[in-house]
């Protein structure tokens, strides 16, 4: 009997210890999206492990959540179900939607020391456009910390350029050249079947159709698709209509695959030599560099009346409604990830994403890398002409409306003005509530 009691007591004691031990390590689940090839998920996991090794008291468990849209869906569902995460790596453009839910911490409140403030103010201003919100007094509050950030660049197959007699070191710089080159680069076999399209700018809803549309509006004197406070859209603006008509024109003249080429296969189409030029995120640069079997080049986007490109990619968010110590731990993790120029530089080298802090480009490893591979600078240099990515309140809904309209135009179901006028009316009806 006594023996039994002793065993029972020991058991109770041990069981009691387990939660006590677990409390010493703060564990955080972090949802994160991947929308490029080349395995950034493995890099994120490795970084989280490295952080845990340096900070044994905090463990960040990265949870792969699919595309950016999937991640938004999952995190919002988690919040609505009362399982708010402390931290998430999400689309920078989810800012308004998350803000309107009242769940975001602003980093200005968390930055208490000089060092913190220097960190907060040390990112490229171009990337802060989708990361902060204007205040009535003209100042800004920051809600997202840039991490996997990009611009759209043009990748082109130099071998194909040489093959059709174009200068491999002179990519197109204007819409007209883009069109002419695309026609030239389109190759057909004897039976008239297309073996290689000149250009591919993916327009499917599963990808980032609205983002690609921005490449055609922003290259017209920086005309954007939305107001900077996220309550107004310019879907049926004449420049928007002109932009999408040019995009569709590339298809109509046979220089681009018909219908809505997919974001997810565009890079493999390019690597397979089935398209000679593509618009894609710089986040795929390392992937392309490792897998291209031909000489390739990168360039800024061809200009309509000006240069331009939207920024893109993911930010770190902190959510309200979790214990204070979790927020502090997550904050520490974010500073660790984004504050060290060497780490930021290495992440950029490993993926192709733009290093979010200028000082990363002064590190030895980055200088050596960009000397041997100048394409790594294309996206950063384009930041000079970069504008905010499409971001409004009720992002999921409004983005769906625009993406649908783009698909309708690109597949010829509707004319550009028709589709965009309808989309404008639908979006206005939704955004009315936020004005």
């Amino acid at each position: 009997m006594k023996k039994m009691l002793a065993i029972l007591l020991t058991l109770l004691f041990v069981l009691g210890m387990v939660p006590a031990m677990a409390e010493d390590v703060i564990e955080l689940d972090m949802y994160f999206p991947v929308s490029v090839g080349g395995g950034p998920d493995a890099l994120i996991t490795a970084l989280c492990e490295e952080f845990h090794a340096e900070n044994p008291g905090i463990k960040v468990n990265p949870v792969y959540a699919g595309s950016y849209a999937d991640t938004r869906t999952k995190v919002i569902a988690a919040i609505q179900a009362g399982n708010t995460p402390a931290i998430a790596l999400m689309f920078s453009i989810d800012l308004y939607q998350l803000f309107s839910m009242g769940v975001l911490y602003n980093y200005n409140d968390l930055c208490t020391t000089e060092e913190d403030l220097a960190w907060l103010n040390g990112f490229y201003p171009g990337f802060m456009e989708n990361s902060r919100l204007p205040q009535p007094d003209g100042s800004f509050l920051t809600y997202g910390i840039p991490w996997q950030r990009s611009t759209i660049i043009m990748y082109y197959n130099k071998d194909a350029f040489a093959e059709v007699g174009l200068d491999p070191n002179a990519p197109p710089t204007t819409w007209q050249e883009l069109e002419d080159y695309a026609v030239k680069l389109t190759k057909k076999d004897a039976a008239g079947n297309v073996e290689r399209y000149g250009i591919q700018i993916p327009s499917d809803k599963a990808g980032y159709a609205y983002w690609m549309l921005q490449t055609f509006t922003l290259t017209q004197d920086g005309q954007n698709l939305m107001s900077s406070d996220g309550t107004e859209v310019f879907f049926n603006h004449e420049k928007t209509i002109k932009g999408i008509e040019f995009w569709k024109h590339l298809t109509d003249i046979g220089a681009q695959a018909p219908g809505t080429p997919k974001w997810s296969t565009t890079v493999s189409d390019f690597l397979e030599g089935k398209v000679a030029m593509m618009y894609h995120t710089t986040g795929n640069l390392t992937n392309v560099r490792k897998n291209a079997t031909f000489e390739f080049g990168t360039s800024r986007l061809a200009a309509g009346t000006s240069y331009g490109s939207p920024t893109g990619g993911g930010n770190f968010y902190l959510f309200k409604g979790v214990p204070e110590e979790q927020t502090q731990a997550a904050f520490q993790f974010i500073k660790w990830m984004t504050g060290n120029p060497e780490r930021v530089a290495q992440w950029s080298i490993d993926t192709g994403y733009v290093a979010t802090r200028p000082e990363a480009y002064e590190t030895q490893r980055m200088i050596e890398y960009t000397e041997s591979f100048p394409s790594a600078l294309t996206a950063r240099d384009q930041l000079e002409y970069a504008y905010a990515e499409f971001s409004v309140y009720d992002q999921g809904n409004v983005q769906d409306i625009l993406d649908t309209a783009i698909e309708e135009v690109m597949t010829g179901q509707k004319g550009a003005a028709d589709a965009l006028n309808a989309a404008q009316a639908q979006a206005d009806a939704i955004l009315m509530d936020y004005r």
Partner: protein, 304 residues
């Protein structure tokens, strides 16, 4: 005397016995009834309730807002995506149900008669239905990939999934491929239940193959057909995983369907009120179809 006693006690004993049997029946039903209640009846009831509310991003701060039938009115008068999804589901149902049944019967008869490699034939017919939906969707995504997908090698100009006039057809082919083998299994067991004396009699009477099929095989398979029709019809309305992987309902909602639209409304757009209303419509459609089929066909079926 003894008979009299029985007749007096008989009714009471009968009632007691009946109660015992009923109790046993309820007891046996209870576990599944509980699960049905939790996972089917309650969610349906809650969806009906939620469909009367405006509950989206705009009402996030204030909470759901009662709006009566407004969600339904919007759905049936303004929502073009709903109309397109409704139409697409109808097309998928009308096309896949008869083709799957015809293919299933043909495959079952072949698999039943084939002399060599009976097992191999059955397995190869059946295996598509063992694959998970997501795997199937990815396989067909590759098959349909233009230029270097499987079909791309035949004709690089085929862009089935990005062309609004072919995308639905492409999905239908995939659905039939996936479920024909499943349908076949039911017909194989149906065929084996048919008494071989009937065929013998037919042979003696000099009936040809076509007559034998239409006069004996097909009528005797009616119970199987009823069951298979319900299964394939619900399958047609359960299209969601493939859409998620392959088209996201595009291009331009030309391949959207009701269940995927529910997902988009509920999760992508956080519009629970609207999603509930579509769910209710979907439930009503399926209930009506099943009832009609069950009650109109039941009388004409010969249960062997």
């Amino acid at each position: 005397m003894s008979q009299r006693q029985i007749s007096v006690q008989g009714p009471q004993r009968e009632i007691a016995k009946k109660w015992r049997v009923t109790r046993l029946a309820w007891g046996l039903l209870l576990p599944s009834l509980i699960f049905l209640a939790i996972f089917t009846f309650y969610p349906i009831g809650y969806s009906v309730y939620m469909s009367f509310f405006k509950n989206n991003m705009a009402t996030y701060a204030t909470g759901p807002q009662y709006i009566g039938l407004a969600n339904y009115i919007t759905l049936f008068t303004q929502d073009k995506v709903f109309a397109a999804s409704f139409r697409n589901n109808l097309i998928v149902a009308v096309v896949t149900v008869p083709t799957s049944i015809a293919l299933g019967v043909a495959m079952a008869i072949f698999a039943n008669q084939v002399k060599v490699g009976k097992g191999a034939v059955r397995v190869s017919y059946f295996y598509p239905s063992l694959l998970p939906m997501v795997a199937v969707a990815n396989i067909w995504l590759f098959i349909y990939t233009p230029m270097y997908g499987l079909l791309g090698y035949i004709n690089p100009a085929w862009h089935f999934l990005t062309n609004p006039s072919t995308v639905l057809g492409a999905l239908i082919v995939m659905l039939i491929w996936k479920q024909a083998g499943y349908v076949m299994i039911f017909y194989i067991s149906g065929l084996q239940n048919i008494n071989s004396e009937l065929y013998e009699a037919a042979r003696i009477d000099g009936a040809n193959a076509r007559q034998t099929f239409w006069k004996i095989t097909w009528p005797m398979l009616k119970p199987t057909t009823l069951y298979v029709m319900i299964i394939t019809l619900t399958n047609a309305y359960k299209m969601v995983d493939h859409l998620y992987i392959m088209t996201k309902g595009g291009p331009g909602n030309s391949s959207n369907m009701l269940l995927f639209y529910v997902y988009q409304k509920a999760f992508d757009q956080s519009n629970t009120g609207m999603a509930s209303a579509i769910t209710v419509v979907l439930v009503v459609i399926l209930l009506v179809i099943t009832c009609v089929q069950f009650f109109t066909q039941d009388k004409r079926i010969f249960y062997a």
